[in-house]
């Protein structure tokens, strides 16, 4: 009886500690992400998420955040090789997609990466990368039309596209308004799931209204 109790306790402790190892790891990574000051810090955070992902193997979120942080380094470092960043981030998204099928968050990330690579040489990349970005958002909408980040990233892209190409501030305004509306009701599945973007949408809407 005692032995059984001991065994059960060991088992519970084991499970609890295994779970908390992932959660604690993620928590630490999120903290590190909040404290990021430089592109190099962001790169280190990305690597941290990637280490968690590679260890866990069946969790898509660390891959998602690893890709997202990599993507952010592309903007934070003005001299970043956006193609190298893009290839790395895409490889991570691909790993996440193997675990988590048809998730709008991953499609949104694909759109963001495509837009980042497009900005390297917009005139000549518009066709290929623009198409990739659009295709990714189409899939995101199919997976979850109520994800506010779809309209946020779409607006962010379109507000910088010239009016004659079907973009502009008016288009941006509509998209950010829609995004903010969806944020009101949006609830992430867990605390760890993506929930970013509300502040950004407000800020960008203000920019469009200027």
């Amino acid at each position: 009886m005692k032995n059984l109790l001991f065994l059960t306790m060991m088992l519970i402790t084991g499970i609890v500690s295994a779970q908390s190892k992932y959660e604690a790891g993620m928590g630490k990574a999120f903290e590190q992400m909040k404290a990021v000051k430089t592109a190099e810090d962001m790169g280190a955070t990305a690597a941290f998420f990637e280490r968690i992902a590679d260890t866990e193997k069946d969790k898509w979120l660390p891959y998602y955040y690893a890709a997202y942080c990599n993507y952010l380094t592309g903007w934070m470092n003005p001299n970043a090789d956006k193609d190298a960043v893009g290839e790395k981030a895409k490889a991570l998204v691909a790993k996440a997609e193997v675990i988590e099928k048809n998730n709008s968050e991953l499609y949104i990330l694909r759109q963001m990466i495509a837009v980042q690579q497009l900005t390297v040489d917009p005139m000549s990349r518009f066709q290929t990368y623009g198409a990739q970005a659009n295709e990714a958002l189409e899939k995101a909408k199919q997976a979850d039309p109520n994800n506010p980040r779809i309209y946020l990233v779409d607006g962010q892209y379109k507000m910088n596209v010239p009016d004659a190409f079907g973009g502009g501030k008016e288009v941006g305004k509509k998209l950010f308004t829609k995004s903010l509306e969806l944020f009101k009701t949006f609830k992430p599945a867990t605390e760890m799931h993506p929930s970013w973007g509300f502040d950004q949408a407000e800020k960008l809407l203000a920019q469009c209204q200027q």
């Binding site: 790169g43 990637e50 040489d121 066709q127 010239p162 079907g166």
Partner: protein, 737 residues
């Protein structure tokens, strides 16, 4: 109960014993270059770090005992090492081995320029560039002429590459040879290409040393790859000063197949009313062209494509006869052309890929020239040298072709490739009642290997074996090229190859006792490419053998050579939003062929040629402005006359034309018309009105010469291209221009 006490105690023990181990070191590649951004991780744990820009990393780990440390980075093979963690600092230096990958591997660039949307080292232009080069009027050949290696020949169509004549450059669509890529020749007036740039997603302009997959071109191969499925269904319409068109592309709902067609009608009558031409057109140039296509994606990731185009055109023009003040030469032409291309690209399993190409084309010309008097009536003068200018020529040339190429990855990204092609050519001509028929069964086999020894060293080697039933001869053409990446991001390439080509039909109708003409290329190239800048310098030597001589009888005794240096610089970086490129070619060439009495610099070759192309798009105006300036030094011209006394040809007169200048301009304004995406294009060639002379025609007695000039100083164009059903404007430009 005792045991329950032990448990917390052991937990404390664990915590206490979790002393950290500091792990540090460096990550470099096999050549001791710094590898930044590599991930260092203790396997099965979250502990790890990243190498910084000085190659260093350091982190702390709570793990204990025997652990495996993994170092990985994109483009490198991961390295694992077993370590003992005991709390004492550990220092390890890692050396990573590069993986041979398509992204990093050196690409053979000797002799070739790529235009397309693929990101490759050899890519210097993209599809959009073809459409937005000032003064090029969306003609692929006109754009390729802004690259080094090509001459600024304005009186004949074709690409005159590195001392080669226009017919030495051939075009290939999806692997198969195109028999008549340009509209039929008119004396002294260059014609446009038949194919619109929007049909192609990639173009390779090879100025020498090209792959064993292509033959029958002594100087140059233009390798065009057609587009796959369109992004979206759409309807297009266009109207301009010279043509109108309508088209449809339908993409299936499942995005697995598409079909479409286009029709265009060109009539320059309204334009000629406003802009007077230097010649008298008695039949206003008129073109009908229609095309249709379908494309189907196959289950295993392949694609089947079919494209067909039919065109009919006619024109007639009168020019003063050079031997008489009162007579005129009236030239008339009617042409029918039907071109079909079917291609099938498929993964056939086990790493094998198949490319099958079938094509059939038929081209029919009805050409006649009359000597006319001031009343535009046909006259017979009694002077043989004038009366022989009267002719009627009817010709029909058919080409059927099948080409199969198989390729397989052998190891890493190295590929072997081999295949065969068979062509049946049938040429019928009727010149003033004299009938000639030429039939050729042409068979070629080829094999080639792309070997990547490391990321820095690549080798492409192959050979080609050809047999023509008409010549009743075989040839064997080896090809070899090599590329080596230098440390600073630049790379060197070398290429060597033998190239054979059948004599032209216009020569074979006089004698089929001819052999292949031959050229041997030697090329050395340095290229450095960054995302927004390209620098390229290339030196070449080309030796011609067995060129066709027409005197005293048709024979293969002609020879020649060409050597030169070419520079290319493209920059999208220095001035934000502005894109420009500069090309310069130096060419030193001589050849003894046709009726040349000795080795001469041919009349299509200039020693120095330079182009400057500038593009700027103003987002606020939604308008792009494009300029192209080309310069070439004068070209030689000769009056080669037969001396019946000495029974040989001699140079009665020679000289050099004035330098060639041309400034082309175009602008495209993007807007919305009738709910469509619209592009308004305006362009003009030779903005400055420079006097352009391409050569001289001589009178029969040689006392009088007349400059060959463009039929009008400038060509103006205004057009509106509309497209519905597309949510992206760029497509509108691409599909319509």
């Amino acid at each position: 109960m005792k045991k329950l006490v032990i448990l917390p105690a052991s937990l404390i023990l664990v915590l206490v014993s979790q002393a950290q181990t500091k792990i540090s070191g460096t990550v470099r590649d096999m050549k001791s270059h710094i590898v930044a951004g590599a991930s260092i991780q203790i396997k099965g744990s979250y502990d790890g770090g990243v190498s910084d820009s000085t190659s260093h990393f350091n982190f702390k780990s709570f793990e204990k005992g025997t652990q495996t440390i993994v170092v990985s980075n994109i483009g490198f093979k991961s390295v694992e090492q077993v370590i003992q963690l005991k709390g004492e600092p550990i220092e390890i230096n890692f050396a990573l081995k590069e993986e041979v990958s398509e992204l990093k591997a050196v690409v053979v660039t000797a002799g070739s320029f790529e235009a397309g949307d693929k990101k490759r080292a050899a890519t210097v232009l993209n599809t959009l560039d073809v459409l937005t080069t000032g003064g090029a009027n969306a003609d692929i050949t006109a754009v390729l002429k802004t690259l080094p290696g090509a001459q600024q020949v304005g009186d004949q169509e074709g690409l005159f590459v590195r001392g080669g004549a226009g017919y030495e450059a051939k075009q290939f669509i999806d692997g198969t040879l195109v028999n008549n890529p340009y509209y039929s020749s008119v004396p002294d007036i260059a014609q446009r290409g038949r194919f619109s740039p929007n049909l192609f997603k990639g173009t390779v302009f090879s100025t020498g040393g090209y792959s064993a997959l292509y033959g029958q071109a002594l100087s140059s191969a233009v390798i065009l790859e057609s587009i796959d499925l369109p992004d979206q269904s759409q309807v297009n319409a266009s109207i301009s000063t010279v043509f109108a068109g309508l088209g449809l592309q339908e993409l299936a709902k499942n995005k697995k197949s598409s079909w479409g067609f286009n029709y265009g009608y060109t009539n320059v009558w309204p334009y000629f009313q406003i802009v007077k031409q230097g010649v008298d057109y008695f039949t206003i140039p008129e073109f009908h062209s229609a095309d249709a296509n379908f494309r189907i994606k196959t289950k295993s990731g392949g694609i089947i494509k079919y494209y067909t185009t039919f065109s009919h055109n006619q024109l007639g023009l009168r020019r003063p006869n050079i031997d008489s003040l009162i007579l005129k030469d009236a030239f008339g032409l009617t042409n029918y052309n039907w071109y079909n291309n079917f291609s099938w690209r498929e993964n056939v399993g086990n790493g094998w890929k198949m490319n099958l190409g079938l094509s059939y084309s038929t081209d029919h010309n009805d050409i006649h020239q009359n000597i006319q008097n001031q009343q535009n009536q046909y006259v017979i003068t009694g002077f043989p040298y004038i009366d022989t200018l009267n002719f009627a020529l009817e010709n029909k040339s058919d080409l059927s072709q099948i080409k199969l190429v198989l390729d397989k990855r052998i190891s890493g990204i190295s590929v072997i490739r081999f295949g065969s092609e068979y062509m049946y050519a049938n040429y019928k001509s009727n010149y003033n009642g004299l009938h000639v028929l030429l039939k050729d069964n042409f068979l070629a086999s080829f094999a080639e290997a792309d070997l990547y020894i490391t990321n820095a060293l690549a080798l492409k080697t192959g050979f080609r074996f050809e047999q023509s039933s008409l010549l009743n001869k075989i040839n064997f053409a080896p090809r070899l090229s090599l590329a080596y990446k230098l440390g600073n991001g630049g790379q060197m390439s070398w290429a060597y190859g033998d190239f054979y080509q059948k004599p032209e039909n216009s020569q074979l109708i006089f004698s089929t006792q001819l052999g292949y003409t031959k050229a041997t290329h030697y090329i050395m190239n340095y290229m450095k490419v960054t995302t927004l800048q390209t620098f390229r310098i290339e030196a070449f030597y080309k030796k011609y053998n067995d060129l066709v001589k027409t005197f005293p009888v048709y024979n293969n005794a002609g020879t020649g050579d060409a050597k030169g240096i070419e520079l290319f610089w493209r920059d999208k970086k220095t001035i934000k939003g502005m894109d420009y490129w500069i090309s310069y070619s130096y060419l030193d060439t001589k050849r003894d062929y046709l009726n040349y009495p000795k080795s001469l610099q041919p009349n299509f070759a200039a020693n120095h040629t330079a182009s400057f192309v500038l593009k700027k798009f103003y987002s606020k105006l939604n308008t792009g402005f494009n300029f192209t300036y080309t310069y070439a030094t004068g070209r030689p011209y000769y009056n080669i006359k037969y001396n019946s006394g000495l029974v040989k040809y001699e140079i009665a007169d020679q000289g050099k034309t004035i330098d060639y200048h041309n400034l082309g301009f175009s602008m495209n304004w993007l807007t919305n018309i009738f709910k469509s995406y619209a592009v308004v294009v305006a362009s003009v060639t030779n903005v400055l009105g420079s006097n352009q002379v391409f050569g001289y025609n001589y009178s029969y007695n040689g006392n009088y010469k007349q400059a060959i000039t463009p039929v009008s100083t400038r060509f103006f164009f205004i057009g509106i291209f509309l497209s519905w059903g597309v949510d992206r404007r760029q497509d509108a430009i691409n599909n319509n221009l």
